[in-house]
């Protein structure tokens, strides 16, 4: 039994590993062709990443990517493509920033109010796409793309003017954004947790407390999906809606539930930034939602897999910063690497799936052949 488990783990991790190796090889070719030394570039990146402060940056980057990845993954498990994580998190971001600035509460409560607001906004906005799908048959890909426009170019663009700090641009020391949240609403960093294992973190870097929230979300995602009847319903409805329906699961309810849950997690994506700065700026970090889709894909929608995927993407994003300084290569090489990783991962996963399917079919045929004599 144990060696089959080991084999399973090996098969499961072989694909993403192969994807990374192939990405490195292909990127090296691109770098060589463009006249850079790939080895120098990789050495620079790894050296840079191995510094504690860069590590903190990587985790700060991986945290929102992980949340976005889990948000997308929840949809995927139900066969839904929530392409609207982008709009959901930015809308949740601005509303939570506004609500957080309006209230004055003890710290823990203040933070809770902000996070819950973000989750509620994300959930409602995404749930709306689910409701449209089950009542009007609107494909969720179309509706969430439309809702992205509504959220980003519509509501957020309008509200940032409405909720402008001081009522006017530049009223708060030259920066544009919503009214800042009191310090009680900002999440403390968890540098001290990290410093247990290593030296003091320098350069004023702060390891985001949202990392803890992301970990809790990951555990909750795993438990809900694999340990509860609701999760079973959701997975079975995603895998085979007809069979699940006669098995007592309403496919419509599951669509709305999955979209809502996906949106709830999406709502938390922008909180890493809000919990640090305290306001919604005119230029928040964007594209995390779309990257989250790629992260979910690479991580196979698995809570641990998505975490690794988020770390890989964050590593590429952050460590490539050094390339601009060292000049070993163009920083954009990491975008090529990301693309190649995703493409090869998709192919490698399919290969692994087929290998596994073939092995199982052979084993099952064997069981037939060695059936007790006399049995039909």
């Amino acid at each position: 039994m144990n060696h089959t488990l080991a084999r399973r783990v090996m098969l499961a991790s072989a694909a993403p590993l192969a994807a990374v190796v192939i990405a490195v090889v292909l990127s090296s070719i691109v770098l060589l062709v463009s006249g850079s030394n790939p080895l120098a570039a990789y050495v620079d990146m790894v050296q840079h990443a191995s510094k504690l402060e860069t590590g903190v940056d990587i985790f700060n980057r991986a945290t929102p990517l992980y949340l976005a990845g889990v948000a997308a993954a929840i949809g995927f498990r139900m066969n839904l493509f929530n392409i609207g994580v982008e709009g959901q998190y930015l809308l949740a971001f601005i509303v939570a920033a506004h609500v957080g600035a309006l209230v004055a509460l003890p710290s823990a409560l203040h933070i809770a109010v902000i996070l819950l607001t973000a989750m509620a906004v994300g959930g409602a906005f995404s749930g709306a796409a689910g409701v449209l799908k089950v009542t009007r048959g609107v494909n969720e890909v179309i509706s969430t793309i439309m809702l992205n426009a509504v959220a980003i170019s519509g509501l957020a663009a309008w509200w940032i003017v409405e909720w402008q700090a001081g009522g006017e641009i530049a009223a708060t020391g030259g920066r544009v954004g919503t009214e800042p949240i009191d310090d009680s609403g900002l999440m403390p960093d968890i540098n001290s947790w990290l410093e247990v294992f290593t030296r003091e973190v320098g350069q004023g870097k702060r390891l985001t407390g949202m990392l803890v929230v992301a970990a809790v979300v990951g555990i909750a995602y795993h438990a809900l999906l694999n340990r509860t009847v609701f999760g079973y319903d959701l997975r079975s409805s995603g895998a085979n809606p007809s069979a699940s329906h006669v098995g007592g699961v309403s496919p419509k309810r599951m669509v709305v539930a999955a979209m809502t849950l996906s949106g709830i997690v999406a709502g938390l994506v922008g909180m890493t930034e809000l919990m640090e700065t305290g306001y919604y700026p005119s230029n928040p970090i964007t594209l995390l939602g779309f990257t989250g889709i790629a992260v979910a894909l690479l991580g196979r929608n698995h809570p641990v897999g998505v975490a690794f995927a988020a770390l890989i993407f964050a590593f590429l994003d952050i460590s490539s910063g050094i390339l601009q300084i060292s000049g070993a290569a163009a920083r954009e090489i990491v975008e090529i690497m990301k693309g190649v990783i995703i493409l090869t991962a998709v192919i490698a996963y399919e290969v692994v799936r087929r290998v596994r399917e073939r092995e199982e079919a052979t084993a099952a045929a064997e069981a037939m052949a060695t059936a007790p004599a006399g049995a039909p």
């Binding site: 509860t228 895998a239 007809s242 699940s244 007592g248 399917e357 199982e360 099952a364 037939m368 039909p376």
Partner: protein
């Protein structure tokens, strides 16, 4: 007579299993040669070898007397071998003509497709083989039988003279089977050689000139249909006599478990289930006979709760369930064996132990208070595997790895193990081999003795007559006759099913 196909000593091994073990097969030119055997007997592997999809480990292939080595279907087609797959490979949005020429388009200059040449060739092929089809119809508008004809024409269009038909009757209703057989005989008259894969013995006996039986990867024998009975063939196939469904002594009680009253389901205003009333008592099996598409599927959906009836009421164990959700009905003890196990029965990519819980996941031992119990699920799955003879290396394999018969045994076992009060068995033995069929019958029979109320919908008339305590005939959404299985013959049933006979005063 010249031999169209000659296989000698074909052996094909897969890791741990010998799919074909020293098989010999000789097919005379211009004959209809049936290959029969249970699921897993090696029929498909043999055909894949013949069609170039797999290479044999040992043995030789001769086509029209010439030794050949096949490496791909393209080479097989080159040699005039064509295969009509069980699952159609047609593009719904294209016309018959477009589908037929797809991949073998006659070209004009500048890369343009010569549709007219294609049409002429298609018409020639159709005329030569007596296959009637309108080449401009969209495939999506065609009936199943017509789609199959398109598949056959596709193969003939490419010049095939040897046709492999892989379980062609599995997807057809009886009338369509007759039509297919007429076509196959015309193909033969036009000089084609037909390899006919099937495991329905009556069909094999009526269509084949020669029958070769496979069992566990070996050739059991080659016989002429005139020399054998269905019983003989079954014995060759499974090594014992053909099981017959037999319900045994009546166990019907007076307690009504399922009551359907005036049930009506409309489809775009047209009633597809029309004022259907019936009662199923504990210990009773009520059979529903009927040509497919006469409202059986809609009636089943309404009883299961996946479709809301337009009128009428449903009651289970004395409680009204007309407005109950599917889950409430399942929790009350409504079991279901679906017609299409891939569509409605299984999570194909999921392991068996997850599939065992499907439909009962809210109940012990699968879960408690909303939390799944993995040990409970696994223990139950092992229990089902053992008690219902599901042949599998372990409960961790995915459902798609199992053969059709084993998948069906898993489904029947999963329903029976929860001791349902009412079972809706919708074509419970469709497309499975005789061994699994007998096992499913035995399971239903045993549960009936324990007081299970079963509604059995089936196209297999022997199954209906053998198992049922009462048979209703469904025609155009209505129950048009109530018959006693003790006295009715399949011929009578057929007459009622097609509307040739009408019994007054039944409902």
């Amino acid at each position: 007579m010249a031999l169209a196909i000659e296989l000698n000593g074909i052996t094909k091994r897969f890791p741990g299993v010998v799919a074909n073990d020293d098989i010999d097969l000789s097919v005379a030119a211009g004959e209809i040669h049936a290959i029969c055997g249970e699921n897993g007997a090696g029929k498909s592997t043999l055909m894949k070898i013949l069609y170039g999809m797999q290479a044999p480990d040992e043995g030789t292939i001769k086509i029209n007397g010439e030794p050949v080595e096949l490496h791909s279907p393209a080479e097989a087609i080159e040699l005039g071998i064509g295969m009509v797959h069980q699952h159609f490979m047609l593009a719904d949005q294209l016309t018959v003509l477009e589908n037929v020429i797809l991949g073998a388009e006659p070209m004009r200059s500048l890369g343009r497709i010569d549709l007219e040449a294609g049409r002429r060739h298609l018409d020639e092929v159709g005329r030569a083989y007596g296959l009637d089809i309108n080449s401009d119809d969209l495939v999506e508008a065609l009936e199943v039988g017509e789609r199959q004809r398109v598949e056959i024409i596709k193969v003939l269009y490419r010049g095939a003279r040897i046709l492999i038909l892989d379980e062609p009757t599995a997807v057809l209703v009886p009338q369509e089977v007759d039509e297919l057989f007429r076509n196959v005989r015309e193909l033969k008259a036009a000089g084609a050689t037909i390899l006919f894969i099937d495991h329905k013995l009556d069909e094999v006996l009526s269509i084949a000139d020669t029958i070769t039986v496979l069992r566990q990867g070996r050739t059991v024998g080659t016989v002429k249909p005139d020399d054998v009975t269905a019983g003989d063939l079954a014995e060759m196939m499974i090594g014992s006599e053909l099981p017959v469904p037999d319900a045994g002594a009546s166990t019907v009680t007076s307690e009504v478990a399922l009551e359907v009253s005036e049930l009506t389901v409309r489809d775009a205003e047209r009633p597809v289930v029309d004022h259907v009333s019936l009662k199923v008592r504990r210990g009773e099996i009520v059979g529903i006979a009927g040509v497919e598409g006469n409202g059986q599927a809609e009636m089943v959906s309404a009883i299961m709760g996946t479709r809301t009836p337009d009128a009428g009421t449903l009651a289970m164990l004395g409680r009204d369930i007309t407005g109950a959700s599917v889950r409430e009905r399942r929790q009350m003890g409504l079991g279901y064996v679906p017609q299409d196990r891939h569509r409605e029965g299984l999570l194909l990519a999921g392991p068996l132990w997850e599939n065992t819980a499907l439909g009962h996941q809210t109940e012990a031992p699968y879960s408690r208070a909303g939390w799944l119990s993995r040990p409970g699920m696994r223990a139950r799955a092992e229990h089902v595997q053992a008690d219902f003879d599901v042949r599998t290396p372990s409960i961790d394999v995915s459902a798609h790895a199992l053969s059709g018969g084993n998948q069906q045994k898993l489904i029947v076992g999963r329903e029976m193990v929860t001791e349902p009060a009412v079972l809706i068995a919708n074509h419970p033995t469709r497309g499975i081999d005789v061994g699994a069929q007998a096992a499913v019958w035995e399971d239903i029979r045993a549960a009936r003795a324990d007081g299970l109320a079963t509604l059995l919908i089936s196209a297999d008339l022997d199954e209906l007559i053998g198992l049922s305590d009462t048979i209703f005939v469904m025609l155009r959404g209505r129950l048009v006759a109530r018959l006693d299985p003790g006295t009715v013959t399949p011929r009578d049933l057929g007459a009622y099913m097609t509307g040739a006979a009408v019994e007054a005063g039944t409902q």
